[in-house]
Amino acid sequence: MSAVAQAPARAAAAATPRRDRRAALTLALPALIVLVFLYALPLARLLSLSLHDDAGFSLEAYGRILGDAYGRSLVWNSLRLGLITTAITLVFGYPAAFGLAMSRGALRSLFLASLFLPLAASVIAKAFAWTILLRSHGAVNDALLLLHITDKPIRMIFTQTSLIVGAANIFLPFMILPIYAVVAQIDPRLTEAAATLGAPPIMAFLRVVVPLSLPGVVAGVALVFSLSVSAYVVPTLLMGENYQTLASAIAKAFLLVRDPALGSAAGAILMAIGLLVVVVSNRLGRASGRSA
C-alpha cells in the first residue's frame, strides 16, 4: 500500500544520493555542533577520568565498584528499578495507548492533557507529591484510617513499593506516547482483513496488531528503561538515604567524597547498561517493524 507512494520517492533518492546526503548533513549540523561540545567532549572526559588514578591508566575505579558486594548492590538496585518500572509501565501503558488511539473528541483531549500536563511539572514536585500522599499521616493513610481498613498508619513511604509506584507513575507517559504514535498509524482495515480471513478478534489482535505495534513498544521500553535505570530524584525522595543506586553513588562521589574516578566509573557503567538496552531494543525494533 505505502509501497506505491514510496516507489517514486525511492527512485528520486537513488538519483541524487550525494545531494541528499549533503542536505541531511547541513540540516543536522547545528544539532551536531551542540552535541559535540556539550555532550561528546564531556563524555570523553568522563571516560578518561574513570580510567585514571594518580599514577596514570588504571581500571581501579571499576574494580572498586564491580569487585565489591556493596558496589554490585548499587548496580543491582539500579537495574532492578529500571526493569520493574519498565515492566509495570508496559503492562499499564500498552492498553492505555490503545485507549488513547481509539478515543475521539473531548475524551481524547482529556487523555492527552492528562499525559502531557504532568510532563510539564518538575520530577521533584511529582516525587515530593508522592511522599506527601504516602507518609504516615498522608492522604492515603488518612483515607484508610477513616474507612477503618486499618487501625494504625501503614508504613508506605521509604519502601520498595513506594519507589516502584512513584517511578511507574512518573515514567508512564514515556511508555504510552511512543506506543500510541505507532498504534494510531495502524490501518483499521488490516484488522477487518484479518476478520474476513477467518481470524476471531483476539487472533486478529495477536497476529496483526501486536506485531505492528512492536516498534512503539521497543521505543517505549528503551525510553522508560534508560530514564528509570538512571533515575536520581525518585529513589532519593521516595527511598531516602539508605537505598543507594548508581545514580546516587555518582552524585555522592562527585559532591561529597570528591572521588571523580569513582563517580566517572559509576557513570560509565550506567551508560553502558543504558546503551546496551537501547542498541538491543533498536535491533529488535528493526527486526519486528522492518516492513511496518
Binding site: 505505502s2 509501497a3 482483513a193 476478520a195 474476513t196 480471513l197 477467518g198 497476529r207 517493524g289 516492513s291
Partner: protein
C-alpha cells in the same frame, strides 16, 4: 488431497454460493445510507454495485462481509442467514481498496494468513499458498515482503489471499481503482476470466462505469441508498430504467417537454422545438425528459424534418467539437439547456463550429423519464 484448488473452488462455489439481501437498511445518525435494499446474486455470477460516492455501495458490501451490522433486513450467503454472524465466521473473501495487505508479513505469509487455525498441516498450507499464488501468476514472489511489490502485484496478492480460504463469495471494494488506466483494463479482463474459470460468485463495488460494464454479468446502479436499476450491462446501457441510470452510465442527450399523447408504451412529447416520440408511459400533461444515447444521433446538413413518425428530428447549430480518438463528440445548440450531445465514429466530414445542422435519431432509442423537480 489429489484435488486442485481450482477444483475445490469451482465445485464449492458453484454448488453453494448465493448471496441474498432483503430489506436491508443502514443509518448513520440522521442520514439513511441504505434504504431497504433487495439484491440477489446467482451462484457464479459477477455483480457490480455501481454508483457515485456516498450512494451506499461500499456500505452494502461491508454489510455482506459482516464488517458492519444493518439496522433492518437480512443477509444470507449460501442459503445461510448470516445477518448476525461476525465476519470471521462468514467465509467471505474481501479484496480491499488499496488491498490492506499485512505489511509485517511476506507474500506467502499474507496468502497463508487465513489458512492458519483451520486444521491443515503445514504441507497442505504451503501447497494451497503456492496454488493461490500460481492462479494470480505470482508464484515466484512468495518470500518477498509485500511492501516491495508494485501496485498491480499487491492487487494480485490481495486476490490470492482472498482466494486461498475458498470463500463462498468474493467481495471487491474499489479493488482496481488504484491501478493506472492500462493496467486496470488488463486486470479487468484477466480478473473476469479467472473468476469465470473458477466459477466464483463475486460482488464488486466501483464508481467506474467502464469497469462495471466490462466485468459484470449484472450491474446494480445505486443512488442515494437505493438500487435504481439491476440488470445485465447491455440492458443497463441500452434501456436504463431511470433517468439517473441513463445519466450515470454513458452520456445522455436530453430535451425537456410535456406529454401530449400516450399509447401502448409510447408517448408524444411536445418540446419548445418540436414534437418527439419516445418509449414511456407517463400520463398526458406530465413534465418529462426525453433522452437518447449520443451515438444513435445522426448529424446532417440543415433541412426539412423527415416525414417519418419513427424518427425524431431537431434543428441546431454546432457549438463545440471534441476529439476522443476513435470517436468525436459534437455539442449542438438546439435552443435548449444543456446542449444536445452527438457522437460519431471517426472525425472527418464534420461541418465546422457554427454550422446549421439537422439531427435525426430513431424514436425507439428515445426514452421518456419523469422530469426531476427543480434541476434540469
Amino acid at each position: 488431497m489429489g484435488r486442485s484448488l481450482e477444483q475445490d473452488l469451482t465445485e464449492n462455489l458453484a454448488a453453494a454460493a448465493h448471496v441474498a439481501v432483503a430489506g436491508l437498511s443502514k443509518r448513520f445518525g440522521a442520514s439513511t445510507v441504505l434504504d431497504s435494499i433487495d439484491l440477489a446474486v446467482a451462484p457464479g455470477a459477477l455483480v457490480t454495485l455501481l454508483g457515485p460516492s456516498g450512494c451506499g455501495k461500499t456500505t452494502l458490501l461491508r454489510l455482506i462481509a459482516g464488517l458492519a451490522t444493518p439496522d433492518q433486513g437480512k443477509v444470507s450467503i449460501a442459503g445461510l442467514d448470516v445477518t448476525r454472524m461476525p465476519p470471521h465466521k462468514r467465509n467471505v473473501g474481501v479484496v480491499f481498496q488499496n488491498y490492506a495487505l499485512f505489511p509485517h508479513l511476506s507474500v506467502a505469509g499474507n496468502v497463508g494468513f487465513g489458512l492458519k487455525g483451520r486444521r491443515l498441516t503445514k504441507a497442505m498450507i504451503a501447497k494451497r499458498i503456492a496454488r493461490a499464488l500460481d492462479l494470480v501468476q505470482m508464484g515466484r514472489f512468495g518470500d518477498r515482503p509485500v511492501t516491495a511489490l508494485s501496485g498491480g502485484q499487491q492487487q494480485r496478492v490481495a486476490l490470492a489471499r482472498a482466494l486461498a480460504v475458498e470463500p463462498n463469495v468474493l467481495l471487491f471494494d474499489e479493488a482496481l481503482s488504484a491501478l493506472d488506466r492500462n493496467l486496470r483494463e488488463t486486470m479487468q479482463v484477466e480478473l473476469r476470466r479467472l473468476l469465470k474459470d473458477l466459477g466464483a460468485t463475486a460482488v464488486f463495488v466501483t464508481h467506474d462505469q467502464d469497469e462495471a460494464l466490462t466485468m459484470s454479468d449484472q450491474v446494480a446502479v445505486m443512488n442515494a441508498g437505493r438500487i435504481e436499476h439491476y440488470a445485465d450491462p447491455r440492458r443497463i446501457y441500452a434501456r436504463p430504467a431511470t433517468l439517473f441510470t441513463m445519466r450515470f452510465v454513458g452520456i445522455s442527450s436530453e430535451l425537456r417537454g410535456t406529454v401530449g399523447a400516450r399509447s401502448q408504451g409510447r408517448v408524444l412529447v411536445d418540446t419548445p422545438i418540436g414534437q418527439l416520440q419516445a418509449e414511456g408511459d407517463q400520463p398526458v400533461g406530465a413534465e418529462v425528459v426525453v433522452a437518447t444515447r449520443p451515438e444513435h444521433v445522426e448529424i446532417g446538413p440543415a433541412g426539412l424534418a423527415p416525414d417519418d413518425p419513427d424518427v425524431n428530428s431537431v434543428a441546431g447549430r454546432i457549438r463545440q467539437i471534441t476529439f476522443h480518438g476513435a470517436r468525436t463528440r459534437i455539442a449542438v445548440d438546439v435552443g435548449a439547456q444543456p446542449d444536445f450531445s452527438v457522437e460519431i465514429g471517426g472525425g472527418s466530414g464534420i461541418p465546422g463550429i457554427g454550422a446549421a445542422v439537422r439531427l435525426r435519431w430513431p424514436s425507439t432509442q428515445s426514452f421518456a423519464y419523469l422530469a426531476p423537480r427543480g434541476a434540469p
